[in-house]
Structure formats: structure tokens, C-alpha cells
Symmetry: C2
């Protein structure tokens, strides 16, 4: 795929699923052609450390440090600190590997020096050899909470500690009403060289909505004169990973790509669904440029291929 050298691509993503496509995009676009804006509403303070699950998944994935099997955390990880913490009856529900801990300790140190999360992320990326821009969605604190039968609970308690067991009736992003996008995100949205926006196959309600909830972002996306594409995270009525399908059901939404497209309807111009869902395309709005291909990313080759499919669709839509 020969994407124009002078055109930039803005990818929006959450954790594991989004990071796969982000990795694919880094393989076909140069550092001056791609920026990846990442959800930070899952971030939380834990034992004095700032944990940024989606940012870390993206940076570990792009740098080759990631655990390929789990999709999160680092390869060749060990758990001695967690074992010692368990002996103290400390908080071990959120697993922090010995290597992973270094990232959190480093981030804490840099944040304590007064650096923003954008600055700390850029620094961490440079330290692990990532040349593409990885940008936190905001430098302000936003915290996802989910409403369950026992009230609003912090996202990581739901997602990790309770393993997505509770039924969700609502989702909110505490702090988002007043939060501005980070300087990098703002700059990319306003960039004259922007060629397209790609919404990675992340959970629309948990991973992408936080980005869209930031001041002006949704409106700016709607005004863009360039293609805004999304890759559906739903394949054959199921999510590849995570609680997307379960949450959609609990929110009384049909578990289809069409629901996802409708969720983004005010700004979406292109939509990629898996070949197995080709029959669903007829129900999508005729205004939408729909493309079907394999969207399941098992290998690096799959990631690169999907990245190319996205860029090809964007090119056809120009």
C-alpha cells in the first residue's frame, strides 16, 4: 500500500485489540505518517503507582516487549514481588509483574517531577525504541466507572478483580465533562495534512467512547473533510476478546457491527466488517463506504494486511 508520504493517519485505540491494528499500521506507515491516540480512562492509582493499562499494552506491543500469549503485560515476566505481596496479604488482584513494575515506578517518578502523562509516554516510547507517536487521549484524569447491581464501581475492579462478572446497566467517564484532549490529540485533529482517521477494533463503549467524550472531539470528527473509518470489533456476533459482546447485550444492544456503526453514525464515513458478516452490510446506511475483509488478527501478517485494507478503503474514499 502506497499511502501518500505527506498524509497523516490518526488511529484511535484502546488496549489489546486496538494495539494489534496499531502495530499493523506502524509496519506500513512511517513515524511521520502515523499517530496513535490511546484511551486513558482505564488508568488508575494503585499502591502509589499510576497504572495505564491501554498505554502500556500499546507501547509493549509496538516495542516488541509484550507477552504475545496474553496480549497484555511483558514477555518473559516474573511475579516475585506479587508473591511476596501475597504473603503480606497485600493487594494482588491486579497483577503487576517484576518487569512491568519498572514502567510504573518510572512513570510515578516522572509524574512526580511535574511532567504530563503525554510527556512521560513520549519519554517511555523513546526509551523502548518506539518511533511512532503514541499519545494519551488527555493529560487530565478521567476514570471509567460501570453501574452494577451494587452501584457504580471503578473499571479495573469490574474488569480485573471481578472479571467482568457483574451485569452492567450504564457506563460513565468521571471527569470527562470538562476534560480537554491532550495537546498531541488536539494537534492531530487539526493537522492540515491529516489524511484519514482509523478507529481500531476496540470496545466502542469502554475504550473509544472516553476519547469521544472529551471536549469537542466528537464535533471535530464530524466536521473533518477526510475519511473517518472504523473496524468493527464484532465478528459473527461475538467480540474477539474482552467483554464487548456481553456489555452490548446488557445494554440491550444487538451484537452486530451495525450497532457499532450506528454508535459512530454522526462522524463515520467508512466501515470495515469481517467477511463472515458480509450479509449484514445491506442493513448499513448507504452513505457509509463499507468494506469486507478478514479482520481477525492472529499473526503479524494479519495485522499488516488489515492496516493495508484500512488505508486502501481510505484511499478509495478520497
Amino acid at each position: 500500500m502506497n499511502w501518500p508520504k505527506n498524509k497523516r493517519v490518526l488511529a484511535l485505540c484502546g488496549g489489546v485489540g486496538g494495539a494489534k491494528l496499531a502495530l499493523g499500521l506502524t509496519q506500513v506507515l512511517g513515524p511521520d505518517q502515523l499517530s496513535i491516540v490511546v484511551n486513558t480512562a482505564d488508568d488508575f492509582d494503585h499502591m502509589g503507582l499510576r497504572i495505564c493499562p491501554d498505554l502500556d499494552t500499546v507501547t509493549y506491543t509496538l516495542s516488541g516487549l509484550s507477552n504475545q500469549e496474553t496480549g497484555w503485560g511483558r514477555a518473559n515476566e516474573s511475579w516475585r514481588c506479587m508473591e511476596a505481596l501475597r504473603a503480606l496479604q497485600g493487594e494482588t488482584w491486579f497483577k503487576l509483574g517484576d518487569l512491568d513494575l519498572a514502567t510504573h515506578l518510572y512513570r510515578r517518578t516522572q509524574l512526580d517531577k511535574g511532567l504530563s502523562i503525554s510527556e512521560v509516554t513520549a519519554d517511555l516510547c523513546s526509551k523502548v525504541g518506539i518511533e511512532h507517536s503514541v499519545i494519551p487521549m488527555t493529560d487530565e484524569r478521567i476514570e471509567t466507572e460501570v453501574k452494577t447491581a451494587s452501584g457504580w464501581i471503578p473499571f479495573q475492579r469490574y474488569f480485573v478483580e471481578q472479571q467482568c462478572q457483574p451485569v452492567i446497566s450504564a457506563i460513565r467517564f468521571v471527569g470527562s465533562e470538562q476534560a480537554k484532549p491532550s495537546p498531541g490529540f488536539t494537534q492531530e485533529l487539526a493537522n492540515h495534512d491529516l489524511g484519514c482517521v482509523i478507529i481500531c477494533p476496540s470496545n466502542p463503549f469502554l475504550s473509544i467512547d472516553p476519547l469521544l467524550s472529551l471536549l469537542g472531539v466528537r464535533e471535530q470528527l464530524a466536521k473533518l473533510q477526510v475519511p473517518v473509518l472504523a473496524v468493527s470489533p464484532v465478528i459473527g456476533g461475538k467480540a474477539v476478546k474482552g467483554p464487548t459482546a456481553k456489555i452490548m447485550q446488557e445494554l440491550s444492544l444487538e451484537v452486530t457491527g451495525n450497532t457499532v456503526a450506528a454508535h459512530y453514525s454522526d462522524f463515520l464515513s467508512g466501515f470495515i466488517i469481517d467477511s463472515t458478516d458480509a450479509a449484514e452490510a445491506v442493513a448499513l446506511p448507504s452513505s457509509l463506504s463499507v468494506h469486507t475483509c478478514n479482520t481477525l488478527m492472529k499473526t503479524l501478517e494479519d495485522r499488516v494486511m488489515l492496516a493495508n485494507e484500512c488505508l486502501q478503503l481510505a484511499t478509495r474514499m478520497q
Copy 2:
């Protein structure tokens, strides 16, 4: 040694050297007979964690978790987090092992819940099976600083990062003017069952002076009607470990037990010096009950023996 069941011993100590005698005392006194008050002026905040070197050395020593070779840190330690942090060019000058990190993460979590350092220490002791009371000298923050040619610097920067290389011209305990002893320390000093106070062979200027600098402590020690003993940390003109001798020279003090006794003169009633320094005893004030014995603690047996020597001297002085 049959120390009276109903009489309490209050031991004051710093890190490695003091912890050895504290361990000896726990072998001959029951949990209801002994309290160990520990220096916390070396504590510092580092990468978001609260590090308490002397408290940890004492608790690791008493619980059997300590690294016998170094005297600090934990046995069977690993350094994977530090290695990953080094790759990020993070702060690795203060070595935190993977197991040791669990203690600091746990402490941070408990302090963030609003618990005092006394409460957190009692909790940590119970988790690792220590039955004797280990009491931080104060629940307030006091920070040792040393004056060098390049100005006042925090203690751990001097002690660990610069390995005691700079010449010291003064020592101060920032915050100590207004700081009260911890509730446990206050209670022990006022306890009607107090039978004696033992100042462990810790650095008088860095490890014991912080305890003495707390509001009213020095005055209360001077008023006690029971023996107040010290074990000299100087043997044959040298300190067993650490920078005691170097610092004494830099402060233009003679490196002898007599200097240590003079430093404690307003409250000291008994003094134990090593047999090799027996000749120096003649120069000590006649008001002081002096005892000479082996004070070098290489084995557990040595520690127990010195503990017994202390209690025997206190008994003779009643």
C-alpha cells in the same frame, strides 16, 4: 539471664548494627518484656514509595527474612525490576529487590488509607510473625540531611548514592524541632514497669540522635530512675560497619567509646565497651557503670551473649 518477668526493656536502635543486638534481645526476652524503638529519620519517598531502611532492616532481621551477608534487604532476593528500570534509565541508585518492593508497595497502600507508620509497622510485623513490639520513633516525617562541600544533601543520597564519600561538616534532622515521639515510644518511656533502656551499638550521630531530638525524649531519659545503658559502636578505634568512624573524624571527634559516652552524658548511667578497649575505661566518668566484654556480633550466639551482658549490667545497677 533471668530478667524479671514484670520488667520491660526499651531498646533504641538504627539499622544493621542495632538490629543485631535487637535480635539478641528477642532471644532472651518475651514479647511482653521488650520494645524496640527504631530510627525513621533515614526514611524517604522514592518513586512514589515510602522507604524505611532501618525499620525494614530490623523487621527483616527479627523475622528471619534478612540477607545475612549484606545485613540489609531480603534473603533470596532478585533484581528483575531494577534491571528493567535500568533499561528505562530510571533511578537505580537505591537498590530495591523484587521481594523488598512488596514491603514498600504494601506500606504505601496502608499509609494511603490513613494509617500511621506505627500502625503500618505493627501490621507488617504481625504479617511476618514478629511478636515483639517494633516501634517507629515518631509518626511524623523527619529527614536527616548532611552538610557537605556542595551544601545540605538528603541522607540516602549521601549514604547510598555517594557511598559516604563526601566529607561531612554537620548533620541535621529536618522537622525534628516540633516532632513528637510516636504513641508507642511515649508509652514505653512513661511505663511504670520499665526496667532499663538499652541504646544499641548504632551510629550515635545518624541513628540515635534522631530519636534523642524528638520533643522531650532526651529530658525524659535523663529523669528515668532505671539504668540507661549504651553499647559502644566503636571497637579499637573503628566502627564495625558504616561511616561512624569516618563521620566522627570529620566532626573532629576522637574515635573512641569515650566520645560516644560523652555524647550521651546527660542521661547515660551504664556503658559497655569491647574488651579490646578495656584500657580506655579509666578515662570514663566514675559515675558511669562500665562493663567490658566481647561486643563484636558475628554469630547469633554473639548477639544473644551481648544481650545477656546488657541485662546483667542493668541488673547489677538496680
